[in-house]
Structures are given as C-alpha cells and as structure tokens.
C-alpha cells in the first residue's frame, strides 16, 4: 500500500475542491448526470480515498486493499473524479463521462474496465448487500481489509437495505462501515416529505449497528468518525454524515431540482469559479 494518506485538513480541502471542479466539468460536458449528490458526497469520498483507505492506484486489485462500494451508482461522477484525482486514470478521461465507448458509464459498469471501480451499480438498495458479502468473505479469508459502503439517504427507503443491515449485524461484521450521505433530498423533494426516514439513528441502532453522526463536510469530524469505526469489535458501523445537496455552489445548495441535473457550459464556468 504505497498511496500516501494525509490527515491535513487544508490538503483534503484542496483535493475536495479539485474533485468538485472535475465533477462540474464532466457533467457540463456530458450534458446530463447527477450534480446534487455528487457534491454532497465529495468530502466523504475525499476523506476515504486520501485519509482513510489503504489502496494503491498502481495496483488496483491488490488483495489486501480496503474496498469502497458505491451503492448509489448515480453519483458516479464524484467517484470517477476521486479515482482520477488519486491517479487511477488520467483526469482528462473525466470528460468522456456518459459518452459512447467511455469507461465512465452513466452509472458504474465494471465491464468497461475502469481501474479502481469495485462494483457495477445503479439500482438502489443493492450495494450494502454486496459490501456485506465482501466483509463476510474477508473474514473467511482472514484479510484485515475494511469495507466502506456509501448509501444515499433516499436509498434507505428500499427494503433490501434493511435486509442487509440485519445480516451484517447478525454476522458481527466489524470490518464493515456504511456511510449515509444524509443530504435530506431526493428527486421528488425532501426525504421527510416523500417518505420519512427519521428517527434514522434509532433505526440503525435498533438494527444492531454502532451508529455515529457527523458533519459530512468537516474533515476533522469525518476523520474522527472513521477512526472510531476502527476500534469497534463486534458490530458493523454506520456514519450518518449530515450533508448539503449541491455543497459548494450556493445557488443550488439544498435544491432538490439539482438532484439529477447537469449544469450548462455557462453555468459550469460560474460554478467552477465559485469553487476555487
């Protein structure tokens, strides 16, 4: 594992800024895609890939690596931008997002051969089950890999997520960490209007998970939450990361209409300026 990790807040901030700018550029070029959740998850992915996970862009399939499972495939742009920032592939390739023949499919597709991509996903509610299977196998194989799975909050309306939650607690998967991007917004509006999730912390606690809450845009609290999950002995952990949809671009923050929308080229120019 040669990838140099950092716990420097300003270094992480610079990386997240660059990742967000890449997301805006790739979405504007593609003309479609999901901006809101990509921006709300950007700091979580930055923390994971640059401060928490043991991984090696030069050897993406190294057996002992930690694994990141993106359950919400629609925020693929921020995963792609993070992988490119970490050096898995050239950043120029981000501009091929959603194009014919691209390795950067609209929702992640492993069959296109993108290095660093662990799972093809896009139908909600499936990632946590897959992460659970990986965590069980890691224990069977006596690997000390840690498995991180990013779920959306709206996604938690899928019943299969709770099947997975039940099973991960049953098997005491302390090598599994779920992160919820709790931006509070889904396509039809606020999660609490569309189908209420609260009290969310109590739900996870009742399912037997070590449950943490944190500010999903504050690197210090994110890093400390991930550290806490390392010492858990008998339970899987979940971090409910409170975030803001569209974070970093004032005019779209919290606006559900930006869940599944891409900026125009003109809008993108302004957004990128605002992010720098």
């Amino acid at each position: 594992m040669v990838f140099p990790l950092t716990n420097g807040v300003s270094a992480l901030g610079e990386l997240a800024k660059s990742i967000r700018q890449s997301v805006v550029r790739s979405l504007a070029r593609a003309g479609s895609g999901h901006l809101g959740g990509s921006m709300s998850s950007a700091d979580i992915l930055t923390t994971l890939y640059f401060s928490v996970m043991r991984h090696d862009p030069a050897n993406p399939s190294c057996e002992g690596r930690d694994r990141f499972i993106l359950s919400i495939g629609h925020i693929a742009p921020v995963l792609y931008a993070t992988l490119a920032e970490a050096g898995y592939f050239p950043k120029e390739e981000l501009l091929s997002l959603r194009m014919m023949g691209s390795r950067l499919q609209g929702h992640p597709g492993r069959d296109h051969g993108l290095p660093g991509l662990e799972l093809s996903a896009g139908s909600l509610g499936q990632g946590l089950s897959v992460a659970t299977g990986i965590a069980i196998a890691a224990k069977m194989n006596r690997l000390d890999s840690r498995i991180y799975c990013l779920c959306g909050d709206g996604e938690l309306q899928e019943g299969s997520v709770w099947e997975a939650a039940m099973s991960a607690a049953h098997y005491k998967l302390n090598n599994l960490v779920a992160v919820i991007d709790r931006n509070g917004v889904q396509i039809d509006g606020s999660t609490e209007t569309v189908m209420g999730l609260e009290p969310l912390k109590k739900k996870w606690e009742a399912f037997g998970w070590d449950t943490l809450e944190c500010d999903g845009h504050d690197f210090r609290t994110l890093m400390s939450a991930f550290q806490k999950t390392n010492v858990e002995q008998t339970r899987p952990s979940v971090i409910i990361a409170k975030t803001i949809m569209g974070k970093g671009i004032k005019s779209i923050e919290g606006d559900y209409r930006w869940h599944g929308k891409a900026p125009s080229m003109e809008q993108a120019e302004g957004f990128i300026k605002e992010l720098s």
């Binding site: 089950s129 897959v130 890691a138 019943g159 299969s160």
Partner: protein, 320 residues
Amino acid sequence: MRDQYINRGNKATKAGFGEGLLEAGKKHPEVVAIGADITASVGVDLFSSAFPGRFISLGIAEQNCVGVSAGLALMGKIPVFATYGVFSALRTTDQIRISLCYNNLHVIIGGAHAGVSVGPDGATHQALEDIAVMRVMPNMTVLSPCDATQARLAVIAAVEQCKGPVYIRFGREPMPDFTSTEPGFEVGKAQTFHEGADLAIIATGHMTWEALQAAIELEKEGIHARVLNIHTIKPLDESALIMAARECGAIVTAEEHQVAGGLGSAISEVISKNYPVPVEFVGMPDSFGESGPPLELMKKFGLTAQGILQKARKVILRKQ
C-alpha cells in the same frame, strides 16, 4: 436405444442438486452456500452439515442473499444460493440483473420447486416463469437437468465449466432417475436420447422422461421420433437444433414452464431464423398452476407423454 433409459427408481432432482453441491464442496474449497431458511427443503442441508463454516444463513431475505453472493464472488468464492425458484429467480430479478449479471459474477442460483409437479403447495410456489426471466439476462447460463443424476452433475458442471452467473432449475417431486453419469455433463450440449427422423421431441427437466415414453408409443405406430434432452437452455446447442429441424422437419417442445418465453420460445428463435419447420409446444398455457397431486396436475395441464403424443400427431400433419 430405449434399454439405455430405464427408471432406476424415482428420485427428486433437488436430491441430486444437494448431492452435487456436497460433491462440488468437497472438490472446491471456494464453494460456499447461502441459506434462505428452507435449506433442507432444497437439498442444501447436506452441504451445510458437512461444511458449517462455509454455510451462510441469511434468513428469509432473498434479495440480500443475491447481493451477499455477489460480494462473496467478488472475493473469489463460488457461492451457491438455492431456494424455491419463485423466490430465487423472480423475487430477486433486479439483484440478479445488476449485482450478478451486469457484474458477471460466478454465482450459482438454484431454483427449486420448478413446475406444477410441486403439487399441493399450489400456484404461489410453482415456478413456471423462471426460465423465461433468467434466460433473457445477459451473461447468464441456464441449466435444467432432466433427473436427479443429471442435477448432481449440473452443479459440478456449473462450478467447473462456467465463469459467470448460472441458474439451475430443479423439482420437488421424486421422478424417474434414468440417465447415466456417462458421458458427463457438458454445458451447452444437447443430448440425443432416442434416434428418429420423423419428428423431433425436444424436452427439458421432468418432461424429458415423458418425451421418451411418447417416443416409445410412437414407435408402435411406426413413427420414429428423435428425442433431444436440453439440459442447457442458455447457451442453446443451436447446431443440434438446426440439425433436428433439417433432418426431422417438425418439432414438439416440452417443458414444465409457461410456453411463453421458455424452452419452446428459445428453440423457435433458433429454428425460425435458421431452418423454419412446424413447431408445437407442450407447456403451461399462460396460466397459473393449482393445488393437487403432482402427477394429476401434470396430466391436467397436458405435461405428460399423452400430451406430447397429441402435439406430435398434430405437428406431423403440418409437415409438408
């Protein structure tokens, strides 16, 4: 020819599946099994008793079973997840499509309780649509063994010969166990169980035995039917099918499954493109099953040698 196929005694294909899983587990340490509560009912208990450390019970949560299987496969395991086909193939279709097939992972899905021969449990538990749904999934292999002996070989073949997702279909009711372990199970190969060139009866699962009985009856009338057993519905042995169409000039398909989308449809896709001949279908006529004794139900829906004979006579009249 017919002497080769003598019923050694009735045995459920699920028993063969369980034995095959145990055997595959002994040979391949990476084989693991997933339980969805009804492990004994689908033959997985043999494996779970022999290898408790490689058995993962996940309860009545089939969607999670498929996702967890995908995760295990990403880590190099070969998971076998079996439950009733109505659940393993149909409740989980989205998980199978994305987590298994789109990721092209080597996971074996067992679909038990196939067909109306499930009997008294009735329509809810009789899988009659699973072939149709499984065979349209890219990367999926679909196996449908004709007896317990072949079901045992099918599991081992799925482990050793396949690289992606595999669906294996099997039944509950003890049915004639008549095939031999020779020449083995080659995924994708049709088997000729009876020679003839007046028509071809192409069958899968329990219906293959019925097809053989129909062929014996037809011999008495001087009609020589070729019987093909299709244990691999996907990928289909196209050359054997085209040869049957060319040499026999008429086809009857037989399956314990909806006519729509099943083996008969798959065969018609091949035949209509390559060598069109009249085809008649024995299968479920766009209807649900019901409760009853297994053999009575098969009779009611024409899933018998008699049902095949009727269609055989009809298709011969259609021959030019």
